[in-house]
Amino acid sequence: MSRTDLGPPDYKEMLPPVIKENYGQWLYHEYLKPGVMKHVSEKGDALYTIRIGSPRLVGLDTVRELCDLADKYCDGYLRFTSRHNVELLVSNEANVDPLLAELKQKGMPVGGTGNSISNIVHTQGWIHCHTPATDASGIVKAVMDDLYDYFTHDDLLPARLRVAMACCLNMCGAVHCSDIAILGIHRTPPRIDHTKVSKVCEIPTVIASCPTAAIKPDPKNKSVKVTEEKCMYCGNCYTMCPAMEIMDPLNDGIAILVGGKVSNSRTAPGFSRLAIPFLPNNAPRWPEVTEAVRNIVETWAKDAKKGERMGEWISRIGWERFFDRTGIPFTDKHIDDYIFSIPTFRTTTNFKW
């Protein structure tokens, strides 16, 4: 019988020799070209990293192809990044150019370093989850196709650009702190199947799951009822109770949030904030979404100072200008009405016309 609680494999055993020998002794790095980095150690050793864009949802053929490349050029070593790119770890400088040539020939995108867009961190969508308001992989593909040049170049954008996508507001893609967040949202209250509620759900848990206390017991039906004005369609109740259907093809769609970041560089990390409350779910290529994202990216690229990330740009020019310059209409939806709303209100006369 298999053993339990073995834990993950030992990372040390899978590090390339140049890393083992220079572990903790790296001195600096250089960008040789987009997607190609050189790390130099105190001893003078060098490691070359080639970063390749990945759809993240891959089949075995692709993985084996990557292994072939790593075997051919990297002594069998590669890694994946926190944004799900592939990094081929080249110890021998002579292998860099041939590898790049082969990648080019194979059509595999090299890039994502420095002032570029990296891969879109994303989630399951219609591929595998039960609460999505949209697909994830499809939108990511459409957007990355559209922004492809910004991945393979690092001199077109003022700063790095991190886009994330989550198919529902659970936000598994951690879109809440991204330069641009693409977020699937529901827009109608759950539709309750009263015949199922008492069978498949624990009523007190369902009631407790609602952040706005919109759910009340409905003893007559041995079920629950929802005060619709209070419901903001989070789907929490559905996660607790499959009899409260939240998916609604007529109204589900996408919201765009902008200006978040994670790093502490210069400015503190911050949340992405609502730019576009709703875009329709136009599969298979979501033209409204790609267009909206491109518009935001290009407005920023044109207007920001060098080194200014999306949120830094917005905080310099002000949100009133952001809406002006992108041409995005401002609506009541943009104004927070949840727990921490008050600190987001403009409590000063200092604003721009």
């Binding site: 339990t4 073995l6 499959p242 790093s263």
Partner: protein, 401 residues
Amino acid sequence: MTERKTPMLDELEKGPWPSFVTDLKRAAEKNDSVKDLIAQLEQSYEEKKGHWKHGGIVGVRGYGAGVIGRYSDEPEKYPNIAEFHTLRINSPAGWFYDTKTLRNVCDMWEEHGSGLLNLHGTTGDIILLGTKTNELQPTFDAFSDAGFDLGGSGSGLRSPSACCGPARCEWACYDTLDVCDNLTHEYQDEMHRPMWPYKFKFKFSGCPNDCVASIARSDLSVIGTWRDTLRINQEEIKNYANSGMDIQGRVCEKCPTKALTFNSETKELFVKAEDCTRCMHCINVLPKAVRPGKEKGATLMIGGKSTILRSAFLSWVIVPFMPLEAPYTELKDLIARIWEWWDEHGKTRERIGELIYRLGMGNFLRAVDLPPVPQMVKEPRANPYIFWQADEVIKADEATK
């Protein structure tokens, strides 16, 4: 098994970015469940609606986590994905692989599942995407024999993850990979047998650039930092200056604390150490010339999470500086105290950050025995609603005695 035209998905094979549809189609050639998956996905694209049902409780022997159950809501139409569960395989710290291992993963998954995977899930696991209930145990057995184990799911510890840190980065202020690996092994039980109010995540970043987004995406964020002064190599500063880098404009003026002065005559850069907040900016722009200090460790932060329920939180400072050396006893002791308090007071689906919000930092700090320091706050409270402990006030009856 349903063979059908997929005109919508076909559209997603166009364009320069690698296509998951192409990968699906290639996988479908070898695996019928992927054929059904494609067909069901095409239907989702047409209808704008998911077709998965709530996961029931499935898993492997001895584990309460690591498997996400999934069932098609049209099992008659798509019998090969009537069951289509994922396994979360705990990845090695830093996501470094050799091809031998990775090929082995492929072979095992070819035998036991759909042949589709996510490299990686957003928490960092290898996601084996789609297999049947009766394949779960054999899949696990095979992976276990190959030295792998399941990751987390449900109301337990989730698979910790770490930036590449000292393995490939000059800025790592502690050994992210080792801490991640060490703690993951230490807390196998907490990960595999969920028994808490809700999920709990660790993420380890070697410096404030936070390349694993720990501050946003983990309940306990461990971020490398240093206590002394950053180190400046004046020779390299000169090289940067001579190569045309606008050090005054791109570095000094963007330093958030205005801690840097550049002497454009001598081409030297100076830092006022006590003003620097270690934001990394100057280091990021001048990687050859500026580096973190020598007295290294980590800042511990708590509460990071996504939207549910009280909206998203970013982690906040609870320990400004902790040296991190194996066996990480101080860290583990603190974690034990945190979990104990959360376990005792947390409501179902209440993450640690939300519990602290509900009960207050004062109560949290007393419970886990951490001293309050100004580094914990951006600013002190503005309201006068201060709680006083019994031993801080004079009881009326005592006084009259």
